[in-house]
Symmetry: C2
Subunit: 154 residues, 2 copies
Amino acid sequence: MSDPRTSFAPRGSTEEVEEGSAFAPKFDADGLMTCVATEACSGEVLMVAHMNAEALQKTIATGEAWYFSRSRRKLWKKGESSGHVQRIIEMRIDCDQDAVWIKVEQAGAGACHTGRRSCFYRRVPVGAADVRKLEFRDADKLFDPEVVYRENSR
Amino acid sequence: MSDPRTSFAPRGSTEEVEEGSAFAPKFDADGLMTCVATEACSGEVLMVAHMNAEALQKTIATGEAWYFSRSRRKLWKKGESSGHVQRIIEMRIDCDQDAVWIKVEQAGAGACHTGRRSCFYRRVPVGAADVRKLEFRDADKLFDPEVVYRENSR
């Protein structure tokens, strides 16, 4: 396929990147940008993951979230094995165009591969004496990962 | 000062990291982790930035957001020059402990150095024919960055 980066505008000046309407996403040295997925109805942060140019392009073209796994070094579609697809309600890009925020409708019981609704199921006790101890919050397992993930993918 | 990383628990097995209560944050090759700041009252994503171990430790100790600037290679306290401090209402860590989500009370008119409430003031037209064209949303400038940032810091 053609280089997915050619789908986007070239990077311009800081003024153009921040105040313009040209979509000129910036990828880091590994070719990735950060993506935050929130649940459109609740505003809850479901997960933080990465997109390369191809994942970003596929997400925009299909209206469903695609990511790039840093650990497995591969493109993956969210829900490809679990069925827990994320339908994009809205996508936003930040000021310097190196992070995207997607508001999604999360299919299935949850977004986290551990079986929870969100990946953020533990609280860091800010200001507490012992910050090494996390507190579980909204941590109910809503599905069994062993059953849902038949293969080594998510 | 002592190595801020020693404030945290050592990384254990995947099971321990994901299902345990030991706070064992993972920093990338540059010593950073991603932080998503949302406005506690609205659920809106205000910004995505990075924390090194010291920024994370200071955020936890002070209850206000500290970050590490990749471009300026320095620790900074959000609001140190603008006064737009972020008070932490809650901090969460994700399943593999390499990203934090902070729900904050944003002081001042906004979080973005361009003068907006949020850094995410442009919409990417998902599914549209011309994805190179961003659409401005919630993009009113609420403060004048030239006035608010007296120095080259934010």
